[in-house]
Symmetry: C2
Subunit: 193 residues, 2 copies
């Protein structure tokens, strides 16, 4: 029963289905057919709206990138100090939506995809860059020139926690994750004069 203005609905459904499928299989090696079926449409329709598998995957990446961006902006909006902004950034990176089993396995797969796909690498670099500049902006008033190094370490630690969470097979522990990174931040700030 075709209706008017289905494009947006279908695209969103297909992106959601792609993310589900990636998580379910733990790999980007999902067929367009599996994604389409999950979205309740035909393979041909997926191609019709996205042109090809590659573009569908990239759209799924962009979706998560946007979600994370929104979470960070929302969390930092109410922060009243540089220190509070740092905590808000960290907290947003580990919030319920980002630090879930499904999202984690998708990010992990995107990282691997980036090794062989220039567009995917570009998208991931946006994430890295954005996190980095957000952190540095908040760190500089507190630690000056050390901001860059500390930001890099925080970023690596966050990514590492994601990586290991994906491997553990256990339910993500947001509190422990935040505590680990916050502890590092505290030590880094204390180490500054």
């Amino acid at each position: 029963m075709p209706k008017i203005g289905m494009e947006k609905i279908r695209r969103e459904a297909l992106i959601g289905a792609a993310l589900q499928a990636i998580h379910a299989k733990g790999s980007l090696d999902v067929t367009v057919g599996q994604i389409a079926t999950r979205a309740g449409v035909s393979t041909a329709l997926a191609h019709h709206y996205f042109g090809g598998k590659e573009d569908l995957i990239l759209a799924a990446m962009r979706f998560h990138l946007t979600q994370l961006g929104l979470a960070v902006r929302s969390a930092t909006a109410t922060a009243q100090s540089p220190r509070a902004r740092i905590s808000a950034i960290i907290s947003a990176n580990f919030d319920e939506n980002q630090f879930s089993a499904e999202t984690i396995s998708c990010w992990l797969n995107f990282y691997v995809k980036a090794q062989g796909s220039a567009p995917a690498a570009r998208l991931l670099r946006i994430y890295v860059q954005r996190l980095r500049s957000n952190l540095i902006a908040s760190l500089r008033p507190l630690v000056g020139a050390r901001a860059a190094n500390i930001a890099a370490a925080i970023g690596a630690m966050i990514d590492g926690v994601y990586l290991r969470q994906g491997l553990s097979g256990q339910a993500p522990d947001r509190v422990a994750a935040v505590r680990m990174v916050e502890n590092f931040v505290e030590m880094s700030l204390r180490g500054a004069q």
Copy 2:
């Protein structure tokens, strides 16, 4: 011109070729044919010696796991104190062989594979577990009960550095990597009483 005793030679050649191919493509999505050609043998021979693609990939994982284990053991052998042993472990994880573009992209792919393959997950957990217990053993005399948390953070940071190195596309900077982790260790030890 078949000779006797080729099995060991062929297996090593195929494992090496698999690692090269994985790095070259940046993905585990390499065909048995590509690997076999790189090793200078036929597809059928690869199957003959490894049973199937899965086993060949797992053998390649085991190879890196062994190499890393040897590097750590060799580095810690001469360490005269718990603190020195920690540095030796970190240094080994970032030595020339481990922290190379080829090895990094392989590890990254293995992490993803572990999400959908129980045997691969088991192998990776060996690595995580071994690093963890090595670190804790050396940390406990220095920081007591905080050892477990610090070890987890060090492990996450190491993995995170690998992850980001894979994405950067630049030549690995071992010195900077070691400095970042060592700096965290220093802060953690100073934070102990």
